[in-house]
Amino acid sequence: MQTNNSILLVDDDLTSNFIAEKIIKKSGNSKSIQSVKNGKEALNYILENCLSDYKENCPQIILLDLHMPVMDGFDFLKHLSIEMPNYIEAFKIFILTSSSNPKDVEIANQYHIDGYINKPLNAEKVKLLIE
């Protein structure tokens, strides 16, 4: 099992981030977990941490909520695929959401994503996404 995955949580729900962080830490599968509150912050984070030579904090896995203020998950995926097309494949992107709207799945699937996870995150789901 890999233990060097660094993970970026993108969610405006701070409690949800808190839970995800705890559960991922407990699973012992990640060396670093960062969280940002919306798509815009996530893009900035990626710009700062993935484009330089020093990629220590560049996430391998992105857990992305869909409905967020400022920039939602869909716009994040759109920007990422347009502005950093070479990078999008480098990330494992999982949608982590409470939404059960089939339209959300449909729109998200238009982009490069690796999976769709319903909240709440738990140990089994973490195991699945790390593998």
């Binding site: 409690t15 839970i19 407990k26 409470s98 059960s100 339209k103 995150l121």
Partner: protein, 376 residues
């Protein structure tokens, strides 16, 4: 009187006159021309009502003015009868009967004239098949439009339900996740600090569920336009009331609220106006600029076309309308993430105003402030 009695009692008698053949000099050709033509007219006048009768019996419900048609049938029949009697008189000179038939025909004819006169305006208003066709096309178009509206409403309803379920599920999912963590913590490390942190977060999420349910109730309520308590509302009093009820928020931000009122009162539902002003004032404070104290100007203007315009202007963060204009008044959309919000305030305001036939518009400068213009 005696003549009349005599007339009717001898109605069929023909002795008093010679048969028409014997009256004057008829050539065979002339006589038979008269007789056969009269019979032909009678036969035709007999056939026409039968055709009309057949038509009525087949399409009774589709033909207008059926009563008039019955009168017409009678009229044509009696006209035909006069020609029959005219022919019969060549052998059987029943001139009394002939006069009676003429009288009946005269009466029926005039009844037809009167009836026709009465229905002319109505008949003129009837639509021609072409006009009816045009109406059908127009109505079909209207039906299509209202059908499209219904489809859109249905889609709105769908997305409302998904949004509502998302907003309810988010804190419930958090509670579920937190409870798992709490159980785990209690079974293993049992660190009292972490336990109390988890419990605090569970409490917080529970409050979120509760307030989401309250918000949903408000949203459902506003759909049915409940604000019927229209009265002369004193705007100054109303704003004071909102300030008093939210004193901590207003005071702690040192908010300055200025009123510029054309008229002190305006006719509206007090509850609805309070909801509108409350949401705009609270938003202006919540989304204030960190670099200046919040200032809110409320203008009430009585416009030239007898309407009330309310303008609420703040000096807050502003909204980038080039990106968010379409989403501004939609449900559960939030534009700032550093402040807790439910994303329903502006939606509710717009619903209230539009339900009452008004409009709301917005102008905004990022980091300059926002102006909401409401026409009631």
């Amino acid at each position: 009187m005696k003549q009349i009695l005599d007339f009717f009692s001898n109605i069929l008698q023909a002795e008093s006159w010679p048969a028409r053949w014997n009256c004057g000099r008829w050539s065979d050709f002339h006589g038979w021309l008269y007789i056969l033509s009269s019979l032909a007219i009678w036969a035709a006048y007999f056939a026409i009502p039968i055709s009309i009768f057949y038509l009525i019996s087949k399409k009774k419900d589709d033909i207008p003015f059926v009563k008039i048609l019955w009168l017409f049938m009678l009229f044509i029949l009696s006209c035909g009868l006069t020609h029959l009697v005219d022919a019969v008189i060549f052998w059987y000179p029943a001139y009394r009967l002939s006069a009676l038939v003429l009288l009946i025909t005269a009466i029926v004819s005039w009844l037809a004239v009167i009836a026709l006169y009465k229905i002319v305006p109505l008949a003129l208003s009837l639509k021609s098949p072409q006009q009816l066709n045009a109406i059908v096309i127009e109505r079909t178009q209207q039906l299509k439009e209202s059908n499209n509206n219904l489809i859109r409403l249905n889609q709105d309803m769908d997305s409302f339900i998904y949004s509502a379920s998302h907003d309810l599920k988010s804190p419930v999912n958090n509670i579920e996740g937190l409870l798992h963590l709490l159980k785990d913590e209690l079974e293993n490390d049992n660190n009292p600090e972490i336990v109390s942190e988890l419990i605090r977060r569970i409490e917080h999420s529970t409050i979120r569920v509760k307030s989401t349910v309250f918000n949903l109730t408000d949203i459902v309520k506003v759909q049915t336009n409940p604000y019927e308590d229209v009265q002369e509302v004193n705007v100054r009093e109303l704003v004071d009331e909102i300030i008093v009820e939210n004193e901590i928020l207003v005071r702690s931000n040192e908010t300055l609220i200025r009123l510029h009122l054309d008229k002190e009162t305006l006719p509206y539902s007090r509850q609805a106006l309070k909801s509108i002003l409350y949401n705009l004032i609270i938003n202006a404070i919540k989304y204030r600029s960190p670099f200046r104290l919040p200032e809110i100007d409320i203008f009430v203007t009585y416009t030239a076309d007898n309407k009330y315009e309310i303008v609420v202007k703040d000096n807050g963060l502003g909204i980038d309308l080039t990106i968010y204009r379409d989403k501004l008044f939609t449900l559960f959309k939030r534009f700032h993430d550093h402040i807790e919000g439910s994303g329903i305030g502006l939606y509710i305001i717009r619903k209230i105003i539009e339900n009452k036939g008004g409009t709301i518009n917005v102008e905004s400068t990022v980091d300059g402030g926002t102006i909401f213009k409401i026409i009631l």
